[in-house]
């Protein structure tokens, strides 16, 4: 295991990216910070800039307008980083598959920017906050 990957495992700082979701996954992500789930006790912290982030929490089926911004944002993130696809939208685009404006799913987009990207998924619409915590822990264990 490389040193940088090992360093990722403890206290991951996450940055939240909304790529045309329905808002609900985002709310559930914010919910993680609040007293009932309080992920800050594990050292997971929501940060204000992708440059500080170890992981990106991405929700939504990527649409055309937001795609260039996401590419820029992904390039700014310090590598190695883990990309978490939160929700079924990021995973399979669910009902937005047939929409004229979406270009997802997330893994296709991310692999195009960076073929070595580490991607993890948390399915659900929206996934429960417990499920997100479990997803983050599991992904970090496999690093």
């Amino acid at each position: 295991m490389s040193l940088t990957r090992w360093a990722l495992k403890k206290s991951p700082w996450v940055y939240h990216v909304a790529l045309s979701p329905c808002n609900n996954c985002d709310i559930e992500i914010l919910d993680l910070l609040t007293p009932r789930f309080d992920v800050e006790r594990f050292g997971i912290k929501l940060v204000g800039s992708p440059r500080h982030a170890d992981a990106l929490l991405v929700s939504g089926s990527v649409n055309r307008h937001v795609l260039p911004r996401f590419i820029e944002l992904y390039k700014q993130t310090a590598k190695p980083c883990v990309v978490f696809g939160i929700g079924s939208c990021a995973l399979s685009m669910t009902m937005f598959r047939d929409s004229y404006n979406t270009v997802g799913p997330l893994d296709k987009v991310v692999k195009e920017i960076d073929p070595n990207a580490i991607i993890a998924y948390v399915p659900g619409c929206p996934p429960k906050p417990e499920a997100m915590i479990l997803g983050v822990v599991k992904a970090l264990q496999t690093l």
Partner: protein, 409 residues
């Protein structure tokens, strides 16, 4: 003084959705504001026409995660208007309960976020802590914390268990108690007074002029609420009152929302007490051709749905108007003249929901570039109308032409 542009977004720690504000500032004072939207556009209206009438309830539910019952509510009202069916009483009460639970958790969420915006994270934690029990109730009654999938043209998708009501009553009492605590703590706090009173005042005239809706207009002292103006569900059978507040500033908006939580809790409790027995679904058999409209009071204001069917299995046109679409332009009246730190709060005060609002965008396939946003399209349509006016001269002439076209048919 020199004018500077301060960009805010599209990805910004303050915004949970991606949108882009352009603040034009002189020193620290904001003199103009412009915004670009479209980051959330998913083509819901078009998607809805690809799905059957029944499937579309799930699509409109995903317009917005917070108003995830208001959109299906307005949509099913529109479909019921189109086919002229009568909804059973029990379904009406169940709908009211779910809609009000949604209002409660949405308002608590807003109170928390507003606290976060002014850097008062205690309020953020409180608001969201007291929101969790409401989500528990939703999970118990419907099976999911958000996205309840309860609405269905003609009724509701699943029944509530009357045995759960005793527990829900108990939980609602707790919600009311904690909200009353929150009301006391927030409305008496000198720090919050200093940050919110007299900030972002939306005068009565502007509130009407911009056509604002929901708590935004009620905080300017205008009792505008679809639940009383055009009662749907069981709202005309239970006892509650429309909350209004004078002032139109951020403080008034917070007060309206906080007090509305208590009213909503009252509605939920009464609906559970009066819950009639009986069927929950009118079983719509066929859809006639025609048009239908439905409007419902979402936590942010009136949401409006229009559907047109040709007798087939899906809508041929579906139009959605979300409340934020009307509330967001009022930023022009409220933000200008304030400092940057206040503007974040003022824009948050109308509880804007961009997922709801972004209905329209034109995208060029080849380059994947957005060539026209909703605003530009609106301008296009305005220009077209003006051109028509020019072509036909005075309005009476337009009317005559329309009559001529009609008589030709």
């Amino acid at each position: 003084m020199k004018k500077t542009i301060v960009p805010l977004g599209p990805f910004h720690p303050l915004l949970e959705e991606a949108e882009y504000f352009k603040l034009i500032v002189e020193g620290e004072k904001v003199v103009d504001i412009d915004m670009r939207v479209g980051y959330m556009h998913r083509g819901i209206e078009e998607l809805s026409t690809q799905k059957t009438w029944d499937q579309s309830t799930f699509v409109v539910e995903r317009i917005c995660g917070i108003c995830s019952t208001s959109h299906p509510m307005a949509y099913v009202l529109a479909v019921e208007d189109l086919c002229g069916c009568e909804v059973p009483d029990r379904a009406k009460y169940i709908r009211s309960i779910i809609c009000e639970l949604e209002r409660i958790h949405s308002h608590l969420l807003w109170v928390g976020l507003a606290g976060h915006f002014i850097g008062y994270d205690t309020v953020f934690m409180w608001g969201w802590k007291y929101r969790e029990p409401v989500l528990d109730i939703c999970e118990k009654l419907t099976g999911n914390r958000n996205h309840y999938a309860m609405m269905k043209p003609g009724g509701v998708r699943r029944d509530l268990n009357n045995d759960d009501f005793a527990w829900v009553h108990k939980e609602m009492d707790k919600v009311i108690k904690s909200t009353e605590m929150l009301v006391g703590a927030v409305l008496d706090d000198p720090v919050l007074h200093a940050r919110t009173k007299g900030i972002g005042v939306l005068s009565k005239k502007d509130a009407i002029g911009y056509g604002t809706l929901g708590p935004t207009v009620r905080a300017s002292g205008i009792p505008d609420d679809i639940r009383t103006d055009d009662p749907y569900n069981a709202y005309d059978r239970v006892d509650w009152k429309v909350i209004t507040w004078e002032g139109g500033d951020v403080f008034a908006k917070a007060a309206v929302r906080l007090l509305e939580i208590i009213e909503s809790a009252k509605i939920v409790k009464q609906c559970m007490d009066d819950m009639p027995d009986g069927p929950i679904d009118a079983n719509i058999k066929n859809m006639p051709p025609g048009e239908g409209i439905g409007h419902a009071e979402a936590p942010r204001g009136e949401v409006f749905h229009y559907v047109r069917g040709d007798g087939g299995n899906s809508a041929v046109r579906h139009k959605v108007r979300a409340p934020s679409f009307m509330n967001i332009p009022s930023f022009k009246a409220t933000c200008v003249g304030h400092t940057i730190s206040d503007v974040a709060l003022i824009t948050a005060a109308v509880d804007p929901c961009y997922c709801c609002t972004e209905r329209m965008a034109v995208v060029e396939r080849a380059t994947d570039k957005l060539v026209m946003s909703g605003r530009e399209l609106e301008e296009c349509s305005r220009k077209a109308t003006e051109n028509l006016k020019k072509e036909y001269g005075s309005p009476t002439k337009v009317e005559k032409t329309v009559q001529k076209i009609l008589s030709d048919f």
